[in-house]
Amino acid sequence: MAEIEKLLLFASIITCGVSCVFHIIGWIFSKDTVFSIGKGLIWPFLGLVTGAIAVRWHHLGHGPYITLYEVLLSNVWVATALYLAVTFKRKGLEAIGVFAMPIILLTVGAVVMSPSHSSNLTPAYKSVWLILHICFAKLTYGSLVVATALSISILLKRYAAEKHRFMMRLTEPERADRLCHKLIAASLMFASIMIVSGSIWANQLWGKYWGWDPVEVWSLITWIVYGLYLHLRITYRFKGVPAAVYCINSFLVSAVSFFIMPYVLNTVHNSFMFAK
């Protein structure tokens, strides 16, 4: 089973990498066919990741939410699925794949670098609140990846489109900005449910709903950062380039809470994420 899973993961890295290259080449050199192949490769990539998750799930008997490897792998799945969902029926948004796919490729890289050892389902993981907590953490991450890709496209379209013709393929900044706003509103809602369900689970487990754990604090920071974005938008008509710059920096803040904190600090989350 482990061999099949490794094979599927390896194939998915190759597919994701090739998709990234085709996206970038097709975009820069205005080669529609190459770009379309890159876009088309996202579906088999999602299929391969789904296969890797399914094989592991079948083998271990639990969902992909216990070890860091599993958490990252399912993050890749959600981010890719959300990207496809957002761009599926909306014409002219495909170019954001040029930015979304490299972010997804980096996440796949993080999956490969994480220890893939298996962990059993211990009693602490048997909670519906934990499943909600993890599902909404993934939805938050997925929406932020797509929002960040849209923000990068806004900046490039504004500053580089005149010099480089291939930038013309990018979505109109106003449209990207509108979508980015909706995705951030959605991610704030997902993050709220993630924090609330995590609190309820912590209360079940430790009798304490908030412990100022570093990952909790950084999740709160991420939540405030995106809450501030929405307030700035309503109050100061915050949009366009400044909003895009803010959004990209906010994604870096969320990356700190998702990936860096569990690695560098002693937190209750790493005993779960690293399944010690």
Binding site: P123, R178, K182, W201, W212, V217, I221
Partner: protein, 311 residues
């Protein structure tokens, strides 16, 4: 006019930036004092109260979005209130109890006690551990862990099962199963001065425990290899004899020269925490309000976004 200013969006933005700076500083240094956090929460609460006051009238227009706006901001306010109440009322006691034994919810009964404010002494509720159930996966990871307890409160008695994710509530107390468990060998020491008896709690994590044999003052260690073995390796440093070591099962006796150490039985023990937190229910009510309000506020927004082909 003052209320309008304090409750304005511009002030909200300023306070959010301030709170963000405080929380980032806490995230980086982990040194922000509770007073600073409460001061930040107070400013946010002042802004929210004024904002609610200003916007409450607009709810009368029966707009779902306006109702949602007021509801989720009220939810935030309730969460802040719950957090402050929790901060001032939270107390937790930790105790290790062997099967068949009980303890009373009194400060003196606990091995560890944390309380920032007040002087809660406990309710006097008796909690007895009737049966501990442990089961392991092949690689040693825990598969099942529950504890059947008996709660006696005045003339009332009830049984309940503590689970890892299933605390038991009783009279405002939250009784939790802590992650710690292990073997508790029960020893009887016979010396010329008389007989003494007691449990030694061997931790599942360290799997070894150092203790001093009462009356004799000898240093000793106890450890177990596997929790299912129901055998403990006991080593005693007896003067003149050096370290005397033996793997003991119930009924075995270790001759220490000036006394006899008898292992009378081996039980399982588990850690239990008893929490008193008056702010918890308020916070959870705030969570419910907040999420319901947020959903109302964004309902139309997401409905439009989900329609095919529309941004």
């Amino acid at each position: 006019m003052v209320v309008g200013f304090i409750g304005s969006k511009k002030v909200a933005v300023f306070i959010l930036v301030l709170v963000l700076v405080i929380v980032v500083y806490e995230g980086v240094t982990q040194q922000v004092t509770a007073k600073i956090l409460i001061a930040g929460a107070f400013l946010l609460a002042a802004n929210l109260v004024c904002c609610m006051y200003v916007n409450a009238g607009r709810v009368a227009k029966r707009s779902l979005r306006q109702t949602g706006f007021v509801t989720f901001h009220t939810g935030l306010l309730v969460i802040l209130l719950g957090g402050v109440v929790s901060y001032y009322t939270y107390s937790v006691g930790y105790v290790e109890v062997a099967e068949g034994n009980s303890f009373s919810d009194e400060r003196s009964s606990y091995n560890g006690w944390k309380q920032r404010f007040g002087s809660r002494k406990g309710t006097g509720v008796q909690i007895g551990v009737k049966k501990i159930h442990l089961n392991f996966w092949e690689n040693g990871q825990i598969k099942e862990y529950t504890s059947q307890v008996v709660i006696r409160d005045g003339g009332m008695e009830r049984e309940a099962v503590l689970e890892v994710n299933g605390s038991v509530r009783h009279r405002g107390l939250l009784i939790n199963l802590a992650r710690y468990f292990g073997l508790a060998p029960h020893f009887a020491l016979e010396t010329a001065q008389g007989e003494k008896e007691g449990y030694i709690y061997i931790s599942d994590t360290g799997k070894t425990n150092t203790f001093t044999i009462p009356a004799l003052g000898y240093e000793a260690t106890a450890a177990y290899r596997n929790i299912t073995d129901r055998a403990v390796a006991v080593s005693v440093c007896a003067p003149g004899k050096g370290w005397v070591s033996r793997t003991m099962v119930a009924g075995d006796v270790l001759d220490l020269g000036k006394g006899r150490l008898k292992l009378t039985g081996i039980s399982l023990w588990n850690g239990i925490t008893v929490v008193k937190d008056s702010g918890k229910e308020i916070t959870f009510a705030g969570f419910a309000l907040f999420l319901a309000g947020l959903l109302m506020y964004y309902l139309r927004f997401f409905q439009e976004a989900l329609r095919s082909g529309r941004d």
